[in-house]
Symmetry: C2
Amino acid sequence: MAVQNAELRRAGLKATLPRLRILQILEDSTDLHVSAEDVYRTLLEAGESIGLATVYRVLTQFEQAGLVIRHNFDGGSAVFELAAGEHHDHLVCVRCNRVTEFVDQVIEERQRRIAAENGFAMTDHSLVIHGICSDCQRDSD
Amino acid sequence: MAVQNAELRRAGLKATLPRLRILQILEDSTDLHVSAEDVYRTLLEAGESIGLATVYRVLTQFEQAGLVIRHNFDGGSAVFELAAGEHHDHLVCVRCNRVTEFVDQVIEERQRRIAAENGFAMTDHSLVIHGICSDCQRDSD
DNA sequence: ATGTATGCAAAACATTTGCACCTGG
DNA sequence: CCAGGTGCAAATGTTTTGCATACAT
């Protein structure tokens, strides 16, 4: 936990209990993409008394500090993932919502070129491929 | 307006007044990407008395009928565009929210391959490049 | 006629904010 | 100690829904 403490400092955030717990949850989660509600529920299950508002505030701060990335895959709730490692794009299953990550250098390069050709100073980009994952194709209904 | 009438029939929707008006607005709009509120405001300005709930219902029906495409560019409100013509991707200005469209066959092809490699039956895909458009770079603050 | 569509108001969500209190450094 | 963080509840913004009425076929 000294590790997370340092991570928060580096991000310019005071190492408070809620922030440490939430960071821990993100790191421990088997699911790389969790919603604010998911985090809140996990906290409750662990017996912590941290408000949902704080979860939102902390996740937003983490996002601004570059610790996490916020995605709006569907119209519902946003999901967050640790910003560890390389940029990547996502495959999202429309049946089970499972998320798979991928990187493609050719696409990355084309995107840079397209932004440039259109006079855009690219700040970010997101590519989401929706489809039915192999598991869901098998359990077809 | 007989034209829109036929369009609705083809989509399997009764040609009611609200649906005709809303389709008309989408077709007439200079901005290709409008929110439910935008449509509602336009209706009010035209003196129509159509409820916001109806606008949402109709836009959702249009989406299901394949007449329009719904996008969730930011976390805010969804925007809709007529599904006329080819598939394309979007450049969105983070300052002024202006949307520019583009198509890149290389990216399209890579996406198909990536979906296939991951065992995904691709149903859809969306690529959004965020950045600062040339106008906003000029009026920098 | 009659099943469907609409308007209005209320509900349902996701997210944000105001404010008094608590806590980390 | 004191600025900043947190909890709670209330506010916000978007989208959906229940229900009585109106409309297209």
